[in-house]
């Protein structure tokens, strides 16, 4: 199997953003983020009594038990865990041609990694400002979220270009978005142009 998915490289591109070689690092990062977020969730719901903090003394405990972490209906680490599992699932679904066959999942993946990930980064940024302390594992998850954005957005771009081509060729963008009907045949027109 070609892990670079070269047969499905979008027109005008030199790598296939939907290839496993491009997607696997994001999926692994998302899973690591999920594990860390679940560990922090366990502490916030008091399933475990202490949390690992090598640099900032009681920083993690102070931040993870603050009122800010409890503003939403569920603890903020649990929300983060849900976000990461959404990244992993939408990152792993479908094959190496999904930028044209399932644009909807690529866009959903982009929204999960981009705006949703960006929102969780902002929440972590707020912590030291409000509490004058840091939390090593919270910062770690924020770094993971930031690092996932770059490798994910190229696939979103490929799908958006595909939808644009559908529009210019007078086909239904809606059908192309859901990957139904003759619109998926567009790739041949695009690739050979």
């Amino acid at each position: 199997m070609d892990w670079h998915g070269r047969d499905e490289t979008p027109p005008g591109w030199d790598v296939n953003p939907s290839s496993w070689a491009e997607r696997m690092p994001i999926i692994v990062l998302g899973f690591v983020g999920f594990l860390i977020a679940m560990y922090l969730t366990a502490f916030q719901y008091e399933w475990i009594n202490s949390v690992w903090e090598p640099f900032f003394g009681d920083g993690s405990e102070e931040i993870l038990t603050s009122e800010v972490s409890d503003v939403l209906p569920i603890k903020d680490a649990a929300l983060g865990a849900i976000g990461y599992i959404l990244d992993v699932v939408t990152g792993a679904m479908f094959g190496q041609a999904r930028w044209r066959k399932q644009p909807w999942i690529v866009i959903l993946f982009g929204l999960a990694v981009g705006p949703l990930g960006g929102g969780s980064i902002l929440l972590v940024i707020l912590q030291p400002i409000l509490l004058n302390n840091f939390c090593t594992l919270c910062l770690t998850t924020a770094v993971i979220s930031v690092v996932m954005i770059g490798p994910a957005m190229d696939e979103v771009l490929a799908s958006m270009q595909f939808l644009r081509r559908a529009k210019e060729e007078g086909r239904s963008v809606w059908r192309a978005f859901w990957g139904v009907g003759d619109s998926t045949e567009l790739t041949a027109a695009g690739r050979n142009a």
């Binding site: 979008p10 005008g12 591109w13 004058n132 930031v146 771009l157």
Partner: protein
């Protein structure tokens, strides 16, 4: 890549400047400025390492401008520790200098983001940086 990493380092410095220079509890304004601008510069600069979203470096340039302007405009009225102001202004200037360096774009992305909203750019022939892409089969430098 290195201009991005320099700005990541400067952003990390800003995150720790209030504690290192000792105004983390005495000046809420200087502290908040450093601890908002710093991590945002780190985030934008890390994301901008990847070719297709390299334009995010302009976010760090904008934030560098804020790091210069805020202590100059608000400092005289609301009290900004002098070492914090120097740190913020110097950091902001360096962030602008390195944020303006584009660095090499190694990969080609069809017509780039512009081709998704502009009619006059062909989605296949042009890339966002004005180079023309050859029509033949592309090589695969990453393989």
């Amino acid at each position: 890549m290195w201009p991005r990493l320099v700005n990541v380092a400067i952003g990390i410095w800003l995150m720790f400047a209030p504690a290192v220079l000792g105004y983390s509890t005495t000046s809420a304004l200087a502290e908040a400025s450093d601890r908002i601008i710093g991590p945002l510069v780190v985030s934008a600069s890390i994301a901008a390492i990847w070719d297709e979203i390299r334009p995010l470096r302009w976010v760090s340039v904008f934030l560098g401008g804020a790091a210069i302007v805020l202590p100059l405009v608000l400092g005289p009225f609301l009290g900004w520790p002098i070492d914090g102001a120097v740190s913020s202004i110097v950091s902001g200037a360096l962030i602008i200098v390195f944020g303006r360096i584009r660095g090499p774009i190694d990969n080609e992305f069809g017509g780039g983001w512009k081709s998704t909203w502009r009619d006059d750019i062909d989605t296949i022939r042009d890339d966002p940086y004005g180079r023309e892409i050859e029509q033949t089969q592309h090589g695969f430098p990453d393989s």
